[in-house]
Symmetry: C2
Subunit: 356 residues, 2 copies
Amino acid sequence: MSTIYDVAKLAGVSPKTVSRVVNGDAPVGKKTREKVEAAIRELKYVPSSAARMMRSNRSGLIGVVTGAISRTAELSDPKGLPDLFILQGIQQVVAERDLTLMIADTAGQIDKVPALLRTFQEHRVEGLIYVADYHKRVAFETATPACPLVLANCYDAHGTPAIVPDDKACEKRLVERLTAHGHRRIAYLTFDPAMDAVPLRIEGYREALEAAGIAYDPALVSTGYPINTEFLHQWLDEALDRILALPEPPTVICCGNDEMAMQLYGLLRTRGIRVPEDISIAGFDNYRAIAETLYPPLSTVELPYAEMGRQAAELLLSLISEEASRPHDPVRVAGRVFWRSSVTDLELESQTSKGG
Amino acid sequence: MSTIYDVAKLAGVSPKTVSRVVNGDAPVGKKTREKVEAAIRELKYVPSSAARMMRSNRSGLIGVVTGAISRTAELSDPKGLPDLFILQGIQQVVAERDLTLMIADTAGQIDKVPALLRTFQEHRVEGLIYVADYHKRVAFETATPACPLVLANCYDAHGTPAIVPDDKACEKRLVERLTAHGHRRIAYLTFDPAMDAVPLRIEGYREALEAAGIAYDPALVSTGYPINTEFLHQWLDEALDRILALPEPPTVICCGNDEMAMQLYGLLRTRGIRVPEDISIAGFDNYRAIAETLYPPLSTVELPYAEMGRQAAELLLSLISEEASRPHDPVRVAGRVFWRSSVTDLELESQTSKGG
DNA sequence: CTCCCAAAAGACATCGATGTCATAATTAAA
DNA sequence: TTTAATTATGACATCGATGTCTTTTGGGAG
């Protein structure tokens, strides 16, 4: 690999002049510049970032710690890949700013994190992002790292700057759309409330009901859908029995995610209940492989993971340049509703029946 | 960030001694070592890889160019993510050897590659891997890079070391299993032969037939399945008509991939044809979200992407250390057959009918 | 108590790029 | 043509770690 000295010698100038040509930070005579540029081409000179960094103390590196890459291997079901989308958003911003991403994969083992962080420190990354695979709380043993840190899709107890999905607002937006279309008996079947997202979404569900002047009916809400087990089908079956047997059964069922909605479609079909004529269904996640493929296509709401990645990167960069101060609370990012034909418009229906 | 000089001063020794403690490359007296280690902890000293690299000329970095991360965003169908699996294999090997991965995403634009390669060169990566999203031929304008390069899931015309999936062997293994189970009329519906993988797999199909003493019948083979378009269903429908109308119809249909097999299941169901009682089905890819979920579960064969990633990384490392010489031909990696119940055992069946 | 030898520690130069300051070349003004 | 004001270039030191060589220290033998 040739150095700035080799170029200088070949061009018959001083190394400093070559540096000036490369960085364009000071005027260089036209003839000199051309000689230098020719020498650079000739020797295929590429400056060493290591040497540059020694003086400038700027590495141009952003470190990301994630399990996204190794985790894909375990995937046997058509789920979304939140962390990958987040990674993609980060990648976009970082590329725009001419920074370089160093990605360290935890290979699923949290205990590998300290070693990865050390490697990042050795390379003097200017900032760090930790990306979690689902919305959760995390706690790192490690003392405060030497550079700004942003958490994405998670948060901690120490107020580390964090970007999290706005589960509450998303579910609220979705349910608002349901009430706007005349639904007033809205069931909600979802996961174990131990997952951070679940109580938040229920809160959003309640707020939307309240905004529409609808009383919250606990009989319409079931939590505890067992993810990834054989009992999933049975649980759903029983929950369905329960809510359909209510004196005032729901006109629409909201599901914890799109996959659950897909299961529900199958269950309803075997019971001869039509979607959306007999009952409407809404999902969560806008996992397009499901939402667009189901018949009828599923109304759902998305968590804007790529956007979260972008915001995490933007926040990190502003922390690095000290443009912004640390936000005390996690930044919540909401996504939009995707309205498809799995939900009936009851307003329209009642008008039609009045008219007809 | 504290330096080796800060540590030396605090410990009251020379920087060189600190270096010896850190690297353990020369004996240091016990008391001195303890003083130094205390100072390192006190100052949270982490050596600078940039400075280290200046002298040693070893960066400990491996660069990967891929579109895997940005491409996930476009995914709307439940397909596999070959490049991500490859990335994961690479990651494994690289982590084992205490090297650091730098991942550059092309964001889908090939023209970004030169800039990414330059960044890698600036960081003096010791080796490069280019990961393609499907088996294809590639051509880079760029002159030979300054460090060893390995292609994964692709190859070029210049004999650059490459790791590719062994499409031929995979299909051959699958069809061998079919013939072993008594199938002799084996249809094959697949994609456009312009895709590199298609003719290779057909070749494997033919070799397996030949090995079983079965004549190749072109009427049983249809290529040109239109991927990702609205005509996909129609194409499959017509192809099915054609092969089922043959004087001697097939007992099993091999599909270009598992997704296509899934479509075929649906089509057969609407025609009242049972799988595997009336006809057997085999897939390709072992995309578990499909193969394990379909009823009956799908017999298929996998392309060992993670293994390819590992082999690519191993090959690269041996090229770097000059242990191995460049292979002149792409290294082909075959995967195993996953035998599930979508294929009937005709041998068993004929025995049973004889017995009964 | 000396002397010698091995072990331990240090001095110094070096890797490549660049900031600082000094000097040479060029142009404009007198 | 000379001088002042630019503009263009170069000399040198520096960033942090470490390879090479030198010096110091300590311990055992004589």
